[in-house]
Symmetry: D3
Subunit: 276 residues, 6 copies
């Protein structure tokens, strides 16, 4: 496996650590996000290290690609635990993780929460993912935000446009739903907190990212995202994941290339932390 474009070979001095989490065991519709880390790394070879949006290069700072976490298919609890252990062991880094399905966020957040008691989760997602259980299953991509709320974390959800009535009611009651540009309304939530950012790629319109497990029309585009990326307080971000890319659903490969470019922009945005 080739590491992500521009990754350093110096793990020790890399403040940012990329890993792949090829798990899609609870996918209810189309499995296949397990192939996303490999696909996004491959796609990264087709783009440049330089971002004209931020006028900075992946080569201007150090990040390490630790490869994929080794996950055996067929045991969800064990998978989440493996993610948790990996994240705990590396929680001194800024963790940038490539799913896999959205449930992997649970293990990542659990581990970082041990270190950052005061952290919150900001999630970009077309779906609310707030069910208490999904077809009787507690650990699922469809329940992941609920599990995180259960942990006592504050969750801010951007871009949600699909869910059950109950989920949306729960979200409204708990002040979870926000929109991309009401930074002021969010301010009191975010201020002074460590922030974990989880990006379910279906937050984007399927026209631009068709290769996701659950496409949901009416989403944002790359320009919208870049605007948010620039304005959001990334200096407080202690981890990011990019999940639910499903390369097998997109023979044109544009989804993986999109994700690779997005990841480049995120890495560069995070790199400003390193200087401080």
């Amino acid at each position: 496996m080739n590491p992500f474009l521009g990754a350093s070979k110096d793990r020790k001095n890399s403040r940012i650590l990329i890993s792949g989490i090829p798990f899609d065991g609870t996918s209810s519709f189309r499995a296949g996000s397990r192939f996303a880390p490999a696909s996004i790394r491959e796609a990264s070879q087709s783009i440049e290290t330089y971002s004209v949006y931020q006028d900075r290069c992946l080569d201007d700072f150090k990040f390490f690609d630790a490869g994929d976490i080794d996950i055996s298919p067929g045991d969800t609890k064990r998978a989440v635990k493996k993610v948790f252990r990996f994240a705990r062991k590396n929680s001194d880094k800024i963790l940038v993780s490539l799913g896999g399905e959205h449930l992997v966020t649970l293990g990542l957040v659990q581990a970082l929460h041990e270190r950052y008691k005061d952290m919150i989760l900001v999630c970009l997602d077309a779906h609310t993912d707030l069910r208490d259980n999904y077809l009787g299953i507690k650990l699922s991509h469809a329940t992941v935000l609920r599990r995180i709320v259960d942990m006592g974390l504050k969750v801010v959800l951007l871009g949600a446009r699909s869910g059950t009535k109950e989920e949306f009611e729960f979200a409204r009651k708990n002040n979870i739903l926000h929109s991309f540009d009401d930074f002021k309304k969010m301010d009191y939530i975010i201020k002074g907190k460590k922030i974990y950012v989880s990006i379910d790629m279906d937050v984007f319109d399927p026209g631009f990212v068709p290769g996701v497990s659950n496409p949901e029309a009416g989403g944002i585009n790359f320009i919208d995202f870049m605007k948010w990326l620039k304005e959001f307080p990334f200096q407080s971000v202690i981890g990011v994941d990019v999940v639910e890319i499903n390369p097998g659903c997109d023979p044109s490969f544009i989804s993986s290339v999109f994700a690779a470019k997005l990841l480049r922009e995120i890495l560069i945005r995070l790199s400003y932390q390193i200087k401080t």
Copy 2:
């Protein structure tokens, strides 16, 4: 065949009746819209019954899915007649029909016109479909609106961006072309009339709905549609069809999921009639 998401089993008390019309016999470019009803029903299983756009659920009212009309391939006249007979028999319901190609609208409109003398057709379509004949053929997806004009119906066409010079001249002469937001200009046409709405899915930009028989760049998106849906007087709508999805042309499956979501929104919008 699983019925459309959230469909009731109570035909009698369902005010809205869904049916599939797997006919694509006159498709001139890529046949395959015959597979749309099955594909859209399957896709509907991957979305939620709740619409956050309208804050209402498919479970909040009753609609029945009558399955597919049985159509033998190879005889166009017979196919249109079958659609006509089915529609006539069920014209006491609000008919929501899944094409199939656009010609199926002819049979549907013929039947409803028997009951609603004063009805008009509002059609969302990238193409004018106003030819008098297509390669010598009178009954065709490319002539369907002309046939309906021939019946004496007023036709309002939204989103048209492709056609012959003759078709556009005919359309202008007959005041057929309108744009999505000039409700005022349309007002005198629509007012007090029963309205049949025909949605050729190629009205959307192929970026968002690539799986159509005749993709035509420069179309609308889901947000545009939702704005129209909310403002258009759906209390007067007595039938809707959604045609020309061609699932085989879209391996990413986003087109069928888009159509399923669109249909959910239409059904919910129509459901407000039931209460009245």
Copy 3:
């Protein structure tokens, strides 16, 4: 969901019961066999009820299609248990099951073994599936035959051409490996026993059945299979499963049509039991 071609609506008087088991949770390479039951049923609509190979029709006897077992993704043990319960409840029928991955055989065999103490398993498979664990997991498509050996059942494996050295050694030591035409050598094993037949579709050459999770060159073809089908003592067969078709891997759809035809032949072959 349309039932399998030619299925009766009379469950009670159907001696044979088809069910789909859309589970692929332990797939290590390409998931997607969960879509096989729907795909094979759809494919069955494109073939005839009559078999010229056996000069008999699916309409000549009664079999019932019970639809799919409801399985939530993400919990393997629970899934196997669900299969087990379904099979136990219906063990008075000849169970013909459509996977899903090969692990589903475990639940089926467990249930039938309660009723038929003296049963053996005859398995057609390119892989040995005899590992004690797979990447630390005990319940897996790669361990399923070992789990069944652990239950004390005699296993006869036909067509195996892939596995670890340990698996093949285990298989040889336990006299598990046989070839398609050494009925005489098998005779002492089979004679007088109730037989469960499990067909992993990768036993066929990927040239003929490309849509499997783990393609393995050098397999049999349809003619080879029909020869075996006719000669094997199907009057003693108390259950059959057809697993590991992965429709998403085969855009040509020939794999699902192949499986549908194979299933027709199996059903007809089993139907001779009913007359006795």
Copy 4:
């Protein structure tokens, strides 16, 4: 459109005339054979003009590619009539036609029968195509051989392995079914007759030709075909068609390349007539 590989520009002096018939209006399962003529011509550019099997070149004789017959989708009768008229007008040539679906054979045979009263039809096909009607339709790919029997022509069917019980009974009663190598048994039928050869590409195993409308496992391969081609009395053949290739069903493109190669061999085999 590029003409078929090696075609002459000299229509007048070409004894063999190729044409494409892009009609698939009665396809019951997957339409798309309308794209076969273009696809096979394109595929022909990727093979050589020389056949090592017959040690002869397409350049060694003259054949003309007349392009496609212009067929409007949506009117089956009209389509058959167009084929008929084209064939009648060119019946002084040896007609080699590229379907399209199998129904096109009807128009071709009708026209040639006018000229050759004593002709018979030899058909290679996985399906019997002998229904009296198909879902109420008389003109269909599934009834085409019955319509030809109705005309009073003797039909010899090779490779059939699918059909209804009634079709097989009809076929047996009328001595229609034969196997590829019983030339002796066929001899009294064929002897002294002009022969039209119709090749439904699904006679081949779908493993080798996946791109057909109705794949049917258990067919012949290229070697089998070449053996038959060499032994069959092609000096009496007055027309050949190659139908039911459906390029959209085979993204690997091997089916169209297979058909192009097969066509080269047929053309070369027919070319020996020219010398006589």
Copy 5:
């Protein structure tokens, strides 16, 4: 090969000459743009000759489709030279060329530059293409604009959003980067010059044109392009190319249809020159 939709057969009196250049020899990521000319011509058959955007028809003026330039794969220098020779021979026409990859622009510009000393290049492209060499290779799709700058031509680049830091610095230093609507800022560059327009189709967002060799998120759409097309001084344009469509990357075919429509609009826009 069918010529592009609406092409005249009268080469002599056609002021505009279309040609295909099926060369993709330096493609670094996904080759396949060699198939674009055939694919775009085929796609053109599915659209109309009339443009409602410009209220004019392809039939209202004469343009000739000269087919494809014959290029042997494997020798880049030779390929560029062939393009050059073809263009020089036809430089009295307005050349509208269908790539192939972007390097073909070099041969075209070299030839036209002989005739029009004072010409400039306006290029729509997501990538800067300004490297001095690419992996040691001087002639490459990634260096093409640099080679043209080397020739002494002024280059104006619109839509660029990807490149190395060095390329962007070079571009800024040389005042190459512009945006779609700053016609005023460009005015002094363009005024009085003959203009060659090169359109790398990846300037469009991959959501709308997924079938390109190097998809790059964040691009323009069809509406944006039409606005530019109408305002840009096309009366001074002496050649246009449309490159980097890669049909094999887009099974939905929307990219080729998009390019065909774009080409129709360009042809019609150019046709106003003919009248002058």
Copy 6:
């Protein structure tokens, strides 16, 4: 990039060296074999290290995977030279190379010929590849065997079934054509010579290996190959290449898995040399 299944990390003590050669610059029909090395390595992860055919494991001996040779697209001569240099530098190993297109064999053979003056080439290929030039190009996948004959090497060609008349005449004149089982007739050619084996994967029937650049019906299957592999004197083989897999042409992925399995069998067969 993950190395090929079971590869050792000990380059020095590995007698066999694998490398990938991602070059497809002269592909005349469908480019894309550049992606084969990555695809075959990925596919190798889905098979076992143990071969039941030879009862031996990839782990039983040492081979090293050197990754891919770095080749810039667009310069054929330079590419061949790069292959040559790599091979010369490593000619003390048994080189097992993954194409890429067939032209890569030229560089490999040139290098090994320096060391082994008395070597011959045994080539499995559906095509003769014996043209003197291809469309004017001397260095091409279609001329590679001719270039090697030009070097003075004896060439033995197995499985050829496509080529021009001239190529076959040249082949016959030079006693190049042989069949898979006439070891006796070949004996005098092979005896005492060092042998380089080049396997163009299109020697296999496209039914089994659809993902090749130039599919050619009527080829061998895996069983045929294994028979040959076992009987051919591999103790004299000093290099093997496996070329022309084109993964993009085979969405089912069976071609790459086939190639990976074939490579495993070749590696194990070669490993017997190591012991001697």
